[in-house]
């Protein structure tokens, strides 16, 4: 277990490097929220989910929905590393003609299940997947990552209500609670706390963890699988920009990529000394 956790931590570090490089290359995109979500994405793609990069449409696969679609670089980094498409594609992020769109687009990117990016809609789509798989008596699981700012969208709570109503225990939502959104701290822009109590009241099983503690993430994902009769939400307390000290906890890095000057410093923070 210890070795497995260490391997996942190392994977997350490599993916952070991939994210930073891609964002620097595109000079556009969302740095902070990609880095806060990447530990969860890593645990999903390299520990928890059943999936087959050689056959993205494999029926036995678990499904993942990045509801906070602006963290697309985190998803793309995981997919590229897993082998869904060449890693070089990362350097084409957000460019004209690239399949790596600014926000996830299932039409072009192997491994991307649905189109997300307009906040508040991903949990509904995850619900639909979970509902359909359950109706067919299949045991595939469905995972979704939402932002904490995203919880301000009313549709999230329509979906939260429906997931509990239909007892979607094959669904596990994760909230990347980094407490920052474009205009500032979530609690100042529009307070969504207490997140855990809200989901509890809606009939969900709730876990509250440190979203950068890989062992805690893995344990929570494993625990979610054992919950019957209700969906599980993992409220992951995270740090926006995690891993690059000068990005951390800064709302100003929500939609700002690393500059030429910042790139080597950022890579250094991530233990990468090349260029």
């Amino acid at each position: 277990m210890k070795e497995q956790i260490a391997n996942l931590e190392e994977k997350a570090r490599q993916l952070r490097i991939s994210i930073v490089r891609a964002l620097h290359s595109s000079q556009s995109g969302h740095t902070g929220g990609s880095l806060s979500a990447i530990d969860m994405v890593t645990a999903l793609y390299f520990h928890k989910m059943r999936h087959n990069p050689a056959d993205p449409a494999w029926e036995g696969r678990d499904r993942f929905v990045l509801s906070k679609g602006h963290a697309a670089p985190a998803l793309y980094a995981a997919l590229a590393d897993a082998g869904y498409f060449p890693k070089e594609d990362m350097m084409m992020l957000r460019r004209l003609g690239s399949h790596l769109q600014g926000h996830p687009d299932s039409k072009g990117t192997p491994g991307v299940e649905v189109c997300t990016g307009s906040l508040g809609q991903g949990l509904s789509m995850a619900n639909g997947m979970a509902l359909g798989l359950k109706a067919d008596g299949k045991d595939n699981r469905v995972y979704a990552i939402l932002g904490d700012g995203e919880l301000q969208e009313g549709q999230v709570w329509e979906a939260a209500m429906a997931a509990a109503h239909y007892k979607l225990d094959n669904l596990c939502a994760m909230v990347d609670a980094n407490n920052l959104q474009i205009d500032g701290e979530v609690e100042k822009v529009m307070n969504v706390a207490p997140i855990t109590d809200k989901f509890s009241a809606f009939g969900w099983h709730v876990l509250d963890i440190d979203g950068h503690d890989m062992e805690a993430i893995v344990n929570a994902l494993d625990a979610a699988e054992t919950v019957k009769g209700k969906p599980t939400v993992i409220v992951a307390r995270t740090v926006k920009g995690k891993g690059v000290s000068f990005f951390e906890n800064k709302a100003s890095y929500h939609g700002v990529p690393p500059s030429d000057e910042e790139l080597p410093k950022a890579l250094k923070c991530l233990g990468c000394t090349e260029d």
């Binding site: 687009d105 509904s124 639909g128």
Partner: protein
């Protein structure tokens, strides 16, 4: 008198038939299953019917998710709540990914009646038509509705079908074969053409009959698929008759009249008069009264035809 049937009733029956034929067909509703007639499906296939409560945005997203795992979801509510309330969800979650979601919106137009302007969707064709990847169908009667629902199920991708609340006359023979993107010449004519959709096609056919008395030969072209528009049948009518009156139970802005005007303006400039709701909201009243009130009658179409002939 031809058989009267509401298009929503034809939908309910056809959806239940599809459910029996294909286990991947599922249905969703937002607390209006009795009115939209998805209730017929729900009764037969309760395990494949999902009532999403009064939450249309989530219903659309859920349908997209169901489509993503191989289901053929039909979702229904009133047109104002489907196209209006959930427009952006339809755009992002279904049209952008080309999700195989079938949006069947009932209670389109002013014939919703007594519920009034809040519930009468007169903009849905325009706003659905504006979305890339979206197919928009407005059947004229029960027969065409059956064909349209089956065609929607058979095609891959998002479809918006607009149905009505009230009984309308059957104008197609039982063996009519509906084809997406194909208009139908209902009445031959050479002096002018009514290009119509939904319940206005029957009104135009009555108008054409009446115009004969005045020696005017009016063609009637029914457009069941607003998008993709059958360009050929409209251009042919414009070239051959030289004057077009469009008619729809919808705003004159952006719907069938808009689509026809765009096509003709660019390809075959022809005098066009658009009959529809003139940039205003609906109001309470009986359906028949409202059609008169808004000028959606054979009499109004006769007047429009005579007017357009003076502009030829």
């Amino acid at each position: 008198m031809s058989k009267m049937i509401a298009t929503r009733d034809a939908y309910g029956e056809t959806l239940a038939e599809l459910g029996a034929e294909n286990k991947n067909v599922v249905a969703l509703d937002a607390d209006l299953s009795g009115s939209t007639k998805t209730g017929v499906f729900a009764k037969k296939f309760p395990e494949r019917f999902f009532n999403m409560g009064i939450a249309e945005a989530n219903m659309v997203g859920t349908a997209a998710g169901l489509a993503a795992v191989g289901k053929i979801p039909f979702l229904s509510t009133f047109a104002i709540f489907a196209a209006g309330r959930a427009w952006e969800q339809i755009r992002q979650s279904t049209a952008y990914p080309k999700a195989n979601v079938k949006i069947v919106a009932t209670h389109g137009g002013v014939t919703v009646g007594e519920d009034g302007g809040s519930h009468q969707s007169v903009e849905d064709i325009a706003i659905m038509r504006a979305i890339p990847n979206m197919t928009v169908i407005v059947p004229a009667d029960g027969v065409e509705t059956r064909g349209a629902i089956r065609a929607a199920a058979a095609m891959k991708g998002p479809v918006y079908v607009r149905l009505g609340r009230n009984k309308v006359p059957t104008i197609f023979p039982d063996d009519h074969r509906f084809e997406i993107g194909k208009g139908v010449e209902m009445v031959a004519g050479s002096d002018m053409t009514f290009v119509t959709t939904g319940l206005m096609t029957a009104q135009a056919m009555a108008a054409a009959e009446s115009l004969k008395k005045d020696g005017i030969s009016a063609r009637v072209v029914h457009i069941g698929t607003i998008k993709p528009l059958d360009r050929e049948i409209v251009l042919k009518a414009a070239r051959e008759t030289g004057a077009i009156v469009t008619a729809e139970e919808h705003s004159v802005i952006g719907g069938l009249g808009g689509a026809v005007s765009e096509l003709l303006g660019e390809n075959c400039p022809t005098p066009v008069k658009r009959i529809g709701i003139n940039d205003r909201f609906g109001t309470s009243g009986k359906a028949e009264e409202l059609l008169k009130y808004f000028g959606l009658t054979p009499e109004a179409l006769v007047d429009a035809a005579k007017e357009i002939l003076t502009r030829k």
